[in-house]
């Protein structure tokens, strides 16, 4: 599933490129991240979690789900605060524990 990169938020730090298990994220000549093959993305969200600037979001391919649902993780030391917004704007929040100590 395709990740989208908000060009204004991307700082070109390269974290997403470093982490993507499919070698799909790259930086262009302007040091902005892009996904080289959207169809090859597994939507594991590793790049989204790695980006400290909330510049990447995962999208559901339109063939499978409607626009514009959003799922945004806020990484904290021992948990992730997830915000999910459905296509009608309904917001759901989750606090997911990631480390036990």
């Amino acid at each position: 599933m395709p990740p989208v990169v908000y060009q204004d938020k991307c700082k070109g730090c390269g974290k997403c490129e470093e982490i993507c298990p499919g070698d799909l994220m790259e930086l262009d000549e302007n040091k902005k991240a892009f996904c080289r093959a959207k169809r090859d993305c597994w939507d594991c969200m590793a790049c989204v979690k790695a980006c400290q600037f909330e510049a990447i979001e995962t999208r559901i391919p339109y063939q499978l789900g409607y626009y514009p649902a959003r799922l945004i993780p806020k990484m904290k030391e021992k948990e992730i605060e997830w915000t999910c917004i459905d296509i009608n704007g309904k917001v759901d929040k989750f606090l997911v524990k990631t480390h036990n100590k």
């Binding site: 298990p21 499919g22 597994w42 590793a46 499978l64 789900g65 992730i80 997830w82």
Partner: protein
Amino acid sequence: MSRANLPQSFDKIDEVRIDTDILIIGAGNAGCFAAIEAKRLNPHLKVTLMEKAHIDRSGCLAGGMDAINTYIKKDRTIEDFVRWSRSQAGGLIREDLTISMAEVLNKPIEEWEEWGMPIKYEEDGEEYKTRGKWDITISGSEMKVILAEKTRQTGCEIINRVVATNYLMEGNKVIGAIGFGVRDGKVYIIRAKATIIATGGAAGLYKPYQNDGNDSHHQLWYAPFNVGTGFAIGIRQGAEMTTFEMRWCATRTKDFNGPIDTISVGYKTPMINCKGEQILKTRYAHLGGDAAPRYIRANAPMDEWREGRGPCYVDTTHMTPDQIHDMKYDYLNERPSYVLFLASRAQDLSKEPIEIYGSDPYIVGGHTASGYWVDVKRATTLPGLYACGDVAGGTPNKFVGGCAAEGLLSARAAVDYVASVEQGIINEEQISQEKDRIFAPGFRHSVVGDGVKPREMEERLQRLMDEYAGGVHQFFRMNKEGLEYALRNLKILKDQVKYLIATDLHELMDAHEVIDRLDVAQVLVHHLMYREETRWAGWQTRADFPEKNDQKFDCFVNSRYNPETGDVEMFTRPYEQIISGDRLKA
């Protein structure tokens, strides 16, 4: 990390040569545990991990996990475990391997918890919270990051972004591996006294049904970057393989192709057809109902569709709002984007149940019995080579814990083995041939400029396998004539490999992924042809042999590719029962 260009000619290829005691190919779940165990047993050994991605988020665990499907709780025994696993796999497992795995099964899981991975506890606080009979629930979103950190601390050498392409051989002995850097474009020649293969299973052999638009090609359950390279490089050297025909075709959430146990096991939601009938309890009661073997449960919704009673669902409409919230929490730990998928449909699960459907077939030794034929030490039939995790055969129902446990076992054997061997002698002729083979698609691009793109060949392969070798669009059914058609075309495809072109290093990796898949697919089709019966409907349905034939096939079907002749030799190995009882009952 900057990206190098493709080398333009043979003499421009940079080499990196490394000598190590133990080389582990694949720093996933099993590979990391193997590295940790090897260093623990002998800190003086040099242990090297070769990983095509980045150790922090590679393989099946990249997005996380919400459960560990196999853990032996206090009141259970190894015998119980073997009986359960045996019955789930239709009575065909390597009992010796299952027993040795079960003996160390709990250790890696408890260690993970010590290192920081949260595991949920029962209300009384004593035991891990159970999901099904053998499953425990975890908050595993960051479990791979935690494991990678621990692996780093042991002081082993981690080489990220290097794609293994073949073993280094001295006669029939494995003396390391060769690969290329997908970021730096260099060739890595890693010589080792012992080699452990831990590259996971194979995805992308078949066309997934979601693949109707460009953006959803990798809408797969299994990790799409595990393409079966570990099988392929063993096949090419004549390693014995087992039970490829026991494919993993599973019921998954429809369209998303995601895990389903989270809902059906975790929250005991029944599978229903379009009429609202609880299908396992009613139509499949005689096959075991809710406790039916995995392949029955996997196939039931597809049979319902075929009979005209689809769509099928897991019925979430009786779940409480708290349960629905908890279930989404679990998904955020494993496949977070499933929560996004539900939001993209504004689906209220208390009103609209989750639709289910079959996945594309995978070869995954952690779920079924496909993979390298190994002994109890996890030694393969090639001297110097050990296998663990999804790439090792004979032991279905390993899952996270079992793959990790096999990592420990293979490391123990490798540490023993290296004590008595010297480094092998590198055959420079092999290196030069392999360098040529690796970069051929790049050279072809720069010299000829025209040919077959990896993506085109991949899609041709996936369509072929789907239509003629029992893919999801055929409801997993196949017959002799179709399989023969597949074999004929696989042969053509293998010959067409010489036309592959790659414009950069990433495409070069794509090219080798499809080359490896072709080798795996060929062996798979031979296995499917050989088993002239239907033993695991869904996983292996021969429309022309719909019955089980115990007289001929209550045994392991094994294969060996003959590197000299190019033929795949098929033969059987007997079943050896160690734990008493009816093999089809838990």
